[in-house]
Amino acid sequence: MDRLTLVKRILGLAVLIVALGFPLIVTQPTMVNFAILILMAAQLGVAWNILGGYAGQVSLGHAVFYGIGAYTSSVLAAKFGLSPWLGMLAGGAIASGFALLIGWPCFRLKGHYFAMATLAIAAIVEVLVTNWDYVEGAIGIYLPMTNSGWAGMVFTRSKTPYFYIALGLLLLSLLVSRILQKSYIGYYFRAIKEDPDAARSLGINLARYKLVAIAASAFLTAMGGTLYAQKELFIDPGSVLAGSLSIKIALIAILGGVGTLFGPVVGALVLIAIEEFTRQIFGSTGMGTDMIIYGGIIVIIAMFSPGGIAGLLGEWERAWRARRKLVYTPPGDGI
């Protein structure tokens, strides 16, 4: 292990310890809430990244999985009194199933077409749910607050437990990402992303691995949806199925760096910070300053650093390593 890797490991451990102790040190509810927002955003970015970043299938409709998660657990809790913990798993399973269902036909589409199809599917589902009386349509679902405590995943006095649930979900998502990334599946994802035809020549069944990616991504995204529902105790199509939410989920990963483990975490930090910062400075989100800033950042990243913030850091790391030990590069072969 070289020095930089060691430094990174220590830094990672330090961040984790700080994160674990954060609500104990910082007790202002606004700060805790701010931290929860970052963790939740990061978790969604990490989940999106499995499909959009590693496997290279850009989804602009991830809110549909988030919404399925939120609605499944909420309906089960509100109508059948089922524990949201089980609801979370049920939501994940249904979201995965739905992902496989739409993935099967849509994965035949390439690039721009796939992105547009996901956009359309999410919009259709939003319309359908808005007009579906069983799930209270446009009115939305209020969750029962009676079952306060860990069993019911409802915390009314302090938001701190939500912090730990969000952190747990984020760590779980990172773990899943990491396991996939390090296994042959991760290599296959990258191969499919970089050159699908070449990947096929090596025996890779494109559809199968894209379906693995979308199922895993949908499951984790849906879990995030359940957490949101439990934290807010109210959901409606506008809050968990909106097109703008799909965009935001994609943005988190893009901003931080697609296809990297911690990129989305960095992206969430920056994105939520920008949102909160502009809210502080300009008073409200209605001003559009947050959109100007992150719209501008996306354009700049797309133009100059497709790897996002993590991509930039990676470049610096490579430059640093190159300075440390001059990597042997033989002279060109004269082509």
Binding site: C106, A117, M287, T289, M291, I301
Partner: protein, 291 residues
């Protein structure tokens, strides 16, 4: 079917035609850009939004009707399109698809944000529009602004078709769209053609915005209402086909209003989007698209 429902149905079909023609005009710009350079412009709805605001400010500051300022709006949007091409698109032509999606996507968010910042998120309407009210034609009540707008859309779309097929510059653009390399070999400057496609594409969206501004609320996110429909039209018509977009625009307009009529207004968008998915999955090259 009673006489009344027959009239209502006819009314519905005509209003579908009218909105469909506007959809066609928005979509031809999008399809032109895609045809020429294989890039989907997610910010196309925002060009429309800018066209609407240009009309609005012309009307409320200088008391000029959107129909009078329309040529100026078109020119402004042409300039915006060329500028966007020069500043952003030119640099991502060879970039991975992901970067291309995000570049126009980021622009969409940026322009929405700018509009919110500069002009507030309020819904606005053009004061004292020149064409107002309704006229009765063959027993059907038609909104005059809607009728004017759809006629304008037909003229502009037809004009664009004429330009692409009957003028030297237009054929050069069309040639670039069919085979970029061959066009370059024939001495066509593809850089110039790309800029032209963005200019014309944005101008079409701007004109559509100006035409809509007389009867549609104007707000920063208005583009979102139209971009998905425009995608549907482009896909249905076939990426890159102006004539295809024209007919597809009408089809989508009809599906929307007839869906609203028979199934319920709440589901009209879902129906249009389902049509979109069906086309994407079963006939990805659309009605008149290149293979």
């Amino acid at each position: 079917m009673t006489h009344l429902t027959m009239t209502m149905l006819a009314q519905t079909i005509v209003s579908g035609l009218m909105i469909g023609l506007i959809y066609a005009l928005i979509a031809v710009g999008l399809t032109l850009i895609f045809g020429v350079m294989d890039i989907v412009n997610f910010a196309h709805g925002e060009f429309l939004m800018l066209g609407m605001y240009a009309s609005f400010w012309g009307a409320s500051l200088f008391f000029l009707d959107p129909l009078f300022t329309l040529p100026l709006t078109a020119l402004m949007l042409f300039a915006v399109g060329v500028l966007v091409y020069r500043l952003v698109i030119r640099r991502i032509l060879a970039a991975p698809m992901l970067s291309q999606i995000f570049a126009t996507f980021g622009m969409m968010i940026l322009l929405r944000g700018l509009a919110q910042f500069l002009w507030k998120p309020d819904h606005r309407t053009v004061p004292h529009a020149l064409v107002e009210g309704k006229i009765t034609l063959f027993g059907l009540q038609l909104g005059t602004p809607q009728l004017t707008a759809s006629l304008g859309a037909v003229l502009v779309t037809g004009g664009l078709w004429w330009f692409l097929n009957r003028t030297r510059l237009g054929t050069a653009l069309e040639a670039t769209s069919i085979d970029r390399e061959a066009a370059t070999l024939m001495g066509i400057n593809s850089e110039r053609m790309f800029a032209l496609a963005w200019g014309i594409g944005a101008a079409c969206a701007g004109i559509a915005g100006a035409l809509l501004s007389t009867y549609f609320p104007i707000f920063p996110e208005v583009g979102a209402d139209f971009i998905l429909v425009a995608f549907v039209v482009v896909v249905l018509g076939g990426f890159g086909s102006v004539a295809g977009a024209f007919w597809a625009g009408i089809i989508v307009g009809e599906v929307e209003v007839l869906g609203g009529f028979f199934v319920g207004p709440a589901y009209k968008n879902a129906l249009v989007l389902s049509l979109f998915l069906l086309v994407l999955l079963f006939r990805p090259r659309g009605l008149m698209g290149k293979a």
